[in-house]
């Protein structure tokens, strides 16, 4: 046993400094299933409280849908609980292949490979398909899991300014001599809720002979007319070479992810992607749930239509009340407060009013861009949104920010 007091002291000092910097994260314990209204204990030991959830990735409200639960139960009965093996030994069932086929159809791609999570998909894909002769050019605000994946790959790394197509073109010209070029973007950026300009990116990638990579985790199931994702919204279905997405958000919210796209790329992942090769894939119970979700979404757009209606209602309510919002048209609607302390206090006050929404501040978002990120769900009814709006207005008045511009809020609270 070498876990000496010295070792313990090093970790305690590090943890203390995280706490002193105001960056210490604590979990809030939920005692109900995921839904529009949840039962929470916060802080630890406080009485449990029923609150409206305004910060889940449960966009389509399918996390606790009875049909999904029934399908998962059935899958548990027919295919068991665990696989106790990675895919290429004895961990591939008929339903895993069925899900890969269904995802391919849903996203309009050539082939799909499942991963334990989208984090794993992003961690594995670049290393599997690129060498040191290649280059990855990513938007500066892509998700952390993509950044980790890029770090693991031997190819050269470069970035372009967020959503700046002119800058991207400069970079494509600069790296024209590379063997393979991959342009990397999120579909919907999770912190701001803005949507990638995939139509313009496809044109640039075709012009400069680059592949286009899209992480559509905050879009699959509800963005686009039939919910196929950002590529549907931008009119470029079939033109994205690599799509990664998750089943842990709109598509049932449990876990799992995939790489979907050109068949050679999927096959390269099957041969070389380490998170696929060296860990179990998605459990049968979850696979069964996701299959049910995709069937439902392929038949009807009812849920994504309701989500769109709810999101528009919520955005308009906040704007009419005089909040500063990030522009966009997705269910991610950040209420800008700019100051980190204000964001923390605002979140705490909302909780007192029975509204659960979290403050985001540096380093998750840039310094001076603190916010409450609200996320709308098809599980929300108008009465939930009205109650939440009433609370936002009450707390907005308390902090004297309604109708104020960014400059006025910053003058009052600082950055």
């Amino acid at each position: 046993m070498a876990y000496s007091n010295k070792v313990r002291g090093i970790y305690q000092d590090t943890l203390n400094s995280i706490e002193e910097a105001g960056l210490f994260k604590t979990e809030r314990i939920i005692f109900s299933s995921q839904a529009a209204s949840i039962e929470v204990e916060f802080p630890v030991g406080a009485p449990k409280k029923k609150v409206i959830n305004m910060c889940a990735n449960n966009y389509l409200g399918l996390s606790s849908h009875p049909d999904v639960i029934a399908a998962a139960h059935k899958g548990l009965d027919t295919h068991g609980y665990g696989m106790s093996s990675v895919r290429f030994i004895c961990g591939t069932q008929d339903i895993h292949k069925e899900l890969e086929k269904k995802v391919t159809e849903f996203l309009g791609t050539e082939d799909t490979i499942l991963f334990p999570s989208c984090m794993d998909a992003n961690a594995g894909v670049f290393e599997a398909i690129l060498t040191d002769e290649d280059v990855m050019i990513s938007d500066r605000l892509v998700h952390a899991s993509i950044i980790d994946g890029i770090r693991l790959a031997p190819a050269m790394r470069d970035t372009f300014k967020h959503q700046n197509m002119e800058h991207l073109e400069q970079k494509l010209k600069m790296h024209a001599d590379k063997r393979l070029k991959v342009v990397i973007t999120d579909g919907v950026f999770s912190m701001d809720g803005d949507t990638a300009k995939l139509d313009e990116m496809v044109v640039l990638c075709e012009k400069y002979d680059a592949m286009l990579f899209l992480d559509d985790s905050h879009a699959s199931g509800f963005i686009g007319k039939t919910g196929r994702g950002t590529h549907e919204k931008c009119g470029v279905m079939g033109k994205i070479d690599i799509i990664t997405t998750t089943f842990g958000k709109a598509l049932g919210g449990a876990s799992g992810g995939c790489v979907s796209g050109r068949k050679e790329i999927v096959e390269m992942c099957r041969q070389k992607a380490r998170p696929y090769l060296f860990s179990n894939t998605i459990a049968p119970v979850v696979v069964s749930g996701v299959l049910n979700v995709l069937d439902t979404l392929s038949k009807s757009t009812e849920r994504r239509d309701k989500l769109e209606k709810n999101s528009n209602y919520w955005r308009k309510g906040l704007l009419d009340a005089g909040f500063v919002l990030q522009p966009g048209d997705t269910p991610i609607i950040p209420v800008m407060l700019f100051n980190a302390k204000l964001a923390q206090n605002f979140s705490r006050d909302l909780y007192e009013e029975g509204i659960y929404a979290i403050g985001f501040f540096f380093p998750v978002v840039p310094n001076g861009a603190a916010r409450i990120r609200t996320q709308i769900s098809a599980a929300h009814e108008i009465h939930h949104l009205d109650k939440a709006l009433k609370a936002f207005i009450k707390i907005g008045k308390k902090h004297n920010i309604l109708g104020k511009t960014k400059k006025e809020i910053v003058d009052m609270y600082g950055l």
Partner: protein
């Protein structure tokens, strides 16, 4: 040398600054100051190599050597001279 510094400074402003009002000088810390991250350093290195027709080995293109325009210019000068 001044000219090299000016060229590098202008590249850093165009490439990395999001806020047009932000001002930087030859000795502003770029990497330790959070203006240039390790990912984006690659494009700066490539820019220097193509502009000045030099090859900067990875062991010399360190975050320390790239931390301000003065030290980047010194490195570039050294490699131009040895060309």
């Amino acid at each position: 040398m001044n000219n090299i510094k000016d060229v590098i400074l202008q590249y850093v402003i165009d490439e990395y600054l999001e806020d047009p009002d932000e001002e930087i000088s030859f000795d502003t810390p770029l990497i330790s100051g959070g203006i240039v991250d390790s990912f984006s350093m690659v494009s700066l290195k490539r820019f220097l190599e193509t502009t000045y027709k030099i090859q900067l080995p990875d062991e010399r293109a360190t975050p320390e050597a790239f931390d301000d325009v003065n030290s980047i210019a010194e490195l570039v000068e050294e490699f131009i001279a040895s060309n």
